[in-house]
């Protein structure tokens, strides 16, 4: 029998974790192999579908951290633990831990861009022996836009965590500045072998990659994750196509040697 990829399955919301007024993590029941950086199509009949990245992987669960921005996501925010959502996936390639094992790893993430890399950071922060050292540079607009605030203290125990905000409007004493400002000063043993992951808004990604290259990172050691409009997640609808690449199938994670040719 042919597999019908378009028909979603129902999954129960196990828990809702509120980060900000606009961003919640929905912990969904899910059994099966998943990689951080992959995504699901989450849907609510009548409102439509939205691609959402995997922001965490647990025993029998997958975390989806959703920003409330439109038709589908507004409706998802009306749901509580015990309710159900339709999902299909996982789609996309996701991050491959093997690309980073044994290396010094720097993760640069902005805003909701922290979601897709959270699984990677969580993995290497809890298995510090697998890398030669992990640095996370995470940037948010302001202190109250911070996601995953409970994770940072835990990660800090094993890794170098640089948390920064564009503006400290509440005088919390947090570092102020763009993520790119922390790249030139990165202390690394062998930058030519170090790996980096960059995820965030397009402008931030462009400048962060440039700063990494200036710092001495090699192009083939940098990975980026791309976002585009997606309707199918299956290489059919064409919305995510850039050049000869389908972001949903070939990505969303790309090595920069390939990612740099993704020009709209």
């Amino acid at each position: 029998m042919l597999n019908n990829e378009y028909v979603p399955f129902l999954s129960e919301i196990k828990e809702v974790i509120k980060h900000t007024a606009m961003e919640y993590t929905f912990r969904m029941a899910y059994e099966g192999d998943i990689r951080p950086g992959q995504f699901f199509e989450v849907s609510i009949p009548k409102y439509g579908e939205a691609p959402i990245s995997v922001s965490g992987i647990g025993e029998g669960t997958v975390d989806l951290t959703i920003r409330k921005v439109g038709a589908v996501t507004n409706e998802v925010f009306e749901k509580y633990a015990g309710d159900k959502l339709f999902m299909r996936g996982p789609y996309g390639n996701g991050f491959d831990y093997d690309d980073y094992r044994g290396k010094e790893l720097v993760v640069v993430a902005g805003g909701t861009g922290v979601s897709p890399v959270r699984g990677v950071v969580d993995h290497f922060a809890s298995c510090p022996d697998e890398t030669q050292g992990l640095t996370l540079i995470a940037g948010f607009k302001s202190p109250h836009d911070m996601l995953f605030r409970d994770d940072f203290p835990r990660w800090e125990k094993t890794s170098n965590i640089i948390l920064t905000v564009d503006a400290d409007d509440e005088n919390t004493g947090m570092k102020v500045g763009l993520v790119t400002e922390y790249i030139p000063g990165l202390e690394l043993d062998a930058v030519e072998d170090a790996a980096a992951i960059v995820v965030g808004p397009p402008v931030m990604m462009r400048f962060a990659v440039k700063a990494l290259l200036d710092r001495g990172f090699r192009e083939e050691n940098i990975w980026v994750s791309q976002e585009r409009k997606m309707c199918c997640g299956l290489g059919k609808c064409g919305h995510c196509k850039v050049g000869d690449t389908y972001i949903c199938l070939d990505g969303p994670v790309f090595n920069y040697t390939k990612g740099k040719f993704l020009i709209d």
């Binding site: 979603p8 309707c231 059919k236 709209d264």
Partner: protein, 339 residues
């Protein structure tokens, strides 16, 4: 096996095909053209051979049979889903050589780009193709330059000949039917053209660098982003998902997909007002390179089949074949700039 059929026998052939499947062919819709009260030639169901238009190009392609303009995927209530039924009948589709080659493009996107598309597969498996020979090319055709002029892999061919129809049959089931209807058997090969008035040359060394050409900007003003060129194209496959509800409280509805166009506003819009390729010239560049470069890099052969329909339909008289022919100049322009 080749056959000659009288017009009456051809009518009987179509009628008996129509007994257990849907027969789709280019038909005349009187006064159905988009801009005027001219007739429109497009696909519809036929019951007789006489209804099939052999001497004009169809304004729209056959693709709607395999990739419907609007296709229900499933029906839903709040927590239940029921898959849309497969069509009860198979189909026989009349089409020209260029369109037959376009089927291979649809197959590669829907069956070989990632997992198989369930809805496409279940239609595709039940379609037979009848190629309509071309004795002469129409003005805007450039199939020869795109390598699609010789039909391949059809179940049957059919074209007017000797006051009736000449048929080449490659399908055992159809052969049986034809044996009892035909006036006589003889060798038949579907006609195909060897030259076209419109000529197209896509440069050998075409690369992504051509994106930087200034020539694309010309289309910012000329193209009105109506998307007609996509909708008539037999190789365009994009669609958008849509949810529809039937009842006031929205608890019952359907999810469907509708054909989409990369030339039309909204194709790349993401939440929060972001969008890529805002200018029409950028969209023209995207469409052109999809047809002439990207697809080839991915699948190893050119996507555009040279049917010329996009040239015929454009309300702004933009010629796609001319754009393809300008790619050489554009490459030269960007190469010179780079020096």
């Amino acid at each position: 096996m080749g056959y000659i059929l009288s017009p009456e026998a051809a009518d009987r052939l179509i009628a008996s095909l129509a007994d257990d499947c849907l027969v789709f062919a280019p038909k005349r819709f009187v006064g159905g053209a988009v801009f005027s009260d001219l007739d429109c030639i497009r696909y519809g169901e036929v019951k007789t051979a006489g209804e099939i238009v052999f001497d004009q190009k169809s304004d729209y392609s056959f693709k709607e049979i395999l990739t419907p303009v609007c296709q229900a995927l499933f029906y839903f209530t709040e927590d239940q889903i029921k898959e849309a039924d497969a069509p009860e009948k198979g189909a026989v589709v009349f089409l020209r050589s260029c369109d037959l080659h376009a089927v291979k493009r649809l197959d590669d996107i829907y069956l070989n780009n990632g997992e198989e598309d369930y809805y496409y597969r279940r239609l595709r498996d039940r379609v037979k193709f009848v190629v309509m020979g071309c004795s002469e090319a129409f003005d805007s055709c450039f199939c020869v330059d795109m390598g699609t002029n010789v039909p391949e892999g059809y179940n049957m061919s059919m074209e007017p000949a000797e006051g009736g129809f000449a048929i080449d049959c490659r399908d055992a089931e159809l052969d049986e039917l034809l044996g009892s209807l035909a006036d006589r058997e003889c060798d038949v090969e579907p006609s195909h053209v060897e030259e076209t008035k419109t000529r197209v040359k896509i440069p050998e060394g075409l690369t992504q660098d051509v994106m930087r050409s200034k020539i694309w900007d010309e289309y910012d003003g000329r193209c009105i982003a109506c998307g007609r060129c996509n909708f008539v194209c037999p190789t365009c496959t994009c669609y958008t998902m849509q949810d529809l509800f039937y009842t006031e409280n929205g608890r019952v509805g359907e999810r469907r997909r509708v054909q989409a166009s990369c030339m039309v506003d909204g194709f790349t819009d993401v939440a929060g007002g972001g969008s890529y390729r805002k200018k029409n010239g950028e969209r023209m560049r995207f469409k052109t390179l999809h047809k002439a470069l990207d697809y080839k890099q991915r699948f190893g052969y050119q996507m555009c089949v040279g049917c010329g329909r996009c040239d015929d339909v454009c309300p702004e008289y933009i010629s796609f074949s001319r754009i393809l022919n300008r790619l050489g100049d554009m490459m030269e322009e960007v190469n010179t700039d780079a020096e």
